[in-house]
Amino acid sequence: MKILSLIIFSIKENIKTKFYLVITIFSIFIIFVSLLLKGLSGFEQPQRILVNTGLAMIELFCLVTILLNTAGLLLQDIETKSIYIVLSKPISRSKYIFSKYIGLLCLTLFNIIFMAFIHLIFIKISKWHVTKEYFLTLGTIFLKSGLIGSISLFTVVSMTSQTSAIITSFLLWIMGHFSSELNFIVGKIQTSFLQIILKIFIYLIPNFQYFNIKDYFDSVYFVSKFNIFWGLAYWLVYNSFLILFTMLVFKKKNL
């Protein structure tokens, strides 16, 4: 019950931020841009641009919202000392972190549903349709967002600066998309010690490219290679590890 109240509190706090509203308006604007791009793309396959741009914008919008909301809200809680009110009640720090994360996930899910709804209206207006792969892509966008959410929560708790936490999370996002390429580059390094260290790091960061179905969701062949159960297991392992580790760091943190 306490956790549920905390989750609701976390969602309310997220919604209260003005930045959130600005981003929402921006996202709608971006979908209009996709309509403009559609107009420029020639007569053949104009809907392709609309679908691709929309999906990319949904993902980027989720990323920016998560990074800024996580970084902003937790540090704001500490700065405004509202965290002491929450923690002075018999609520453990672990529950606080857990509810923060679940609140973030709920809001991300709402975001994706809201954005996808607008996107689908535009697709419908364009007299086009979506396949089931489209919805699977939305699912993977949610998984990616959840993963970057736990990463950013970890960086925010472990770092004192909001900017450094955002930058670190963002860099990990990039590296997660680029890990197979990084793996190749690291393989070319001559110094074996450095190579081992970098390899460990590459195998440690989550592979976001695995969830990046939106870059090839129109190919049934490649989409079929994505195993939803394997993906969920991967996601759960990473998230559990990151959240547990964040809880541990937060417990030791001097507030």
């Binding site: 791009l37 020639g42 007569f43 053949e44 998309h177 440690l204 939106k214 392992v237």
Partner: protein
């Protein structure tokens, strides 16, 4: 006890991460070329293309690349190869082409390569590109190069006889007929391509012009009518003119 369980869970989860990622690196494949074969072909778009690859936004950047390609191919051909480009008086010699563009748009192949490097599954880019390179700008070797890239990227479709892989294969055959001067077979192959229903209007227009050149006015007329009914604004005016000309020729003939 609780503490111990928590620490143990973290250690177990941490050690699970490595085999999971190792397995992904080994077994999971995407349609994209590995980095050692990724060559960003147009220098001026290097940053944009890199952003697409690094941020996992290949498809949207590929779409932007496609728009930039259409703008390049739709603009004045400022990159003209003077030696290859025909003089005005030579135009009649190339009357079978949809546009007189030989020796122009020197970097057209690079533009197509850029699109399919970012999105190897962009089949329209292959069809459109092979058609434009082989018959519009008269550079069949470049068209073959693009066809080979397409066949390599879509080889996973080999098992399906109705797939885009075999469609590109037909284009490749048509180009070989063209290179060997076997225009009859080339026409038949292009007809097969158009009848498959996957060809862009550019290829249909190429076939219609070839039909006209070789005196098959009724067939040419039928294709132009089909293009007109598609509602493609780029071809509406030309289709109307061609239909008018071809109808008069059909009556004369």
């Amino acid at each position: 006890m609780k503490k111990l369980i928590r620490y143990c869970s973290i250690i177990i989860l941490f050690s699970t991460v490595f085999p999971l990622n190792y397995n992904l690196f080994k077994n999971y494949s995407t349609p994209f070329l590995p980095i050692e074969r990724t060559k960003l072909v147009l220098e001026k778009y290097f940053i944009l293309d890199s952003v697409g690859i690094i941020f996992g936004l290949r498809k949207i950047i590929s779409d932007i690349a496609w728009i930039q390609l259409l703008q390049y191919y739709g603009s004045e051909p400022y990159e003209i190869d003077e030696e290859e480009s025909p003089k005005d008086e030579e135009h009649s010699h190339y009357e079978h082409m949809t546009k007189i563009q030989k020796g122009k748009y020197k970097r057209l192949l690079d533009y197509f390569k850029r699109v399919v490097l970012l999105d190897p599954l962009h089949t329209l880019a292959y069809f459109y590109g092979i058609g434009a390179l082989a018959w519009n700008v008269e550079r069949p070797q470049e068209a073959l190069e693009l066809a080979n890239i397409g066949l390599e990227n879509l080889k996973f479709q080999k098992g399906d006889p109705n797939s885009d892989y075999w469609e590109i294969f037909k284009y490749q055959q048509a180009i070989y007929y063209k290179l060997s001067g076997n225009y009859g077979d080339m026409l038949n192959k292009l007809k097969e391509i158009v009848e498959s229903g996957k060809s862009p209007n550019l290829v249909k227009a190429i076939l219609a012009n070839l039909y006209k050149k070789y005196g098959y006015y009724k067939e040419a007329l039928k294709i132009w009518e089909e293009i007109l009914s598609s509602g493609d604004p780029e071809y509406t005016e030309r289709a109307k003119i061609q239909i008018y000309l071809l109808k008069s020729r059909c009556v004369d003939g």
